[in-house]
């Protein structure tokens, strides 16, 4: 029995400098499962239940995150507003938006924003991994 998970070959080689993903979702089930999925695939995770906590973490850990996945509807701030705030704090940070609504209104709200990816809930685990991998690859060519 091995004590730790063997990393996904697709993500292997990054273990020494595992990219840190910022996860912001007020739903504990999504937050904990996304955290686990990312950790199993050799990422580090900083997870937060609201925008305020996420921004505070970012201010005290400048440049620590390699990518972010944020929920579009958060209790204290719209995901789009958090996206803009993150963009100001960390201009190069790729931000992926997760949303439960795929309506036109949502797409309009997202138009013109610097998105690194869009995840529509319910999201498949493989989609999360693929979108994060694409965002990281784009951020570090």
């Amino acid at each position: 029995m091995r004590a730790s998970a063997r990393p996904d070959p697709a993500y292997a080689g990054r273990v020494t400098a595992a990219p840190l993903i910022l996860v912001v979702d007020d739903d504990w089930a999504i937050r904990s499962n996304t955290t686990e999925l990312l950790e199993m695939s050799s990422h580090r995770v900083s997870a937060h239940a609201d925008a305020g906590a996420a921004l505070a973490w970012c201010r005290s850990h400048p440049d620590a995150a390699s990518a972010a996945i944020i929920d579009l509807s958060l209790p204290d701030m719209a995901g789009t507003a958090l996206l803009r705030a993150l963009h100001e704090l960390a201009p190069g940070l790729p931000v992926i938006i997760a949303t439960g609504s795929a309506g036109e209104e949502t797409l309009l709200a997202l138009r013109g924003l610097p998105l690194a990816g869009l995840l529509r809930k319910p999201v498949r685990a493989s989609q999360v991994l693929d979108t994060v991998a694409a965002a990281l690859a784009k951020a570090r060519p």
Binding site: M1, A5, D76, S126
Partner: protein, 241 residues
Amino acid sequence: MSPAPEEAARLHRLRSLADMASGMAHEFNQPLTAIRGCAENLLIARQRGWDIPPERIDAKLATIVEQCDRISGLIEHMRAFARGAAELRPAPLALAEAVADALRMIGSQLAQRGISVEVEDHSAGRLALAARHALAEVVVELLRNARDALAGAGRTRARIAVAIEPRGAELELRVRDDGPGMAAGTAEASEAPFAGAGAGGGPGLGLPAARHTMAAMGGSLRIETATGVGTTVILVLPAAA
């Protein structure tokens, strides 16, 4: 023109059901999301050949079982509610139970909107005479009004305080929001069915019907409010001997 009390009560029931359905959708969604996530993480780990420590597998399976039980509990609660909401015969009741019932129906919905609910139970074990499910329905109505008042105020972080207090031969259940409150005239007008309904805030159809339900249980409902200080709705019920 105001509808007849029976019609108002019927419409109130319909609105309660619609709100309950929406609340329950939220309540069901969370355990389902948890179950799905656990199962999917196990699946992808197997598919990709990741080693997962057995204790982690156990923990995920335990979560799945626990969340399935949570859903069963919700279904049981809905059944009991459907059977009991029309029952107005009072029986000795810990008021905190009716509050917990109400929160099961609307709690997630409130949390989703950034509204926290604090419950302070000072009853020290004293029971009131009330019909549990009907009272829970009244509390849902008050929480819904508080939610609308807070949403109308454009608050992103808001609080509803629920307090249970003994007062002589009675018990009070107070629901207070720190929203914008109502001017005296508005509070009086809110006694009429439909007042403020659909205006995106303020009490709607529900309060008169809630008052009707309270009276049928031998209790009463009153409102304390003023512009700028929020609104407190006080349910008064006789204490059980």
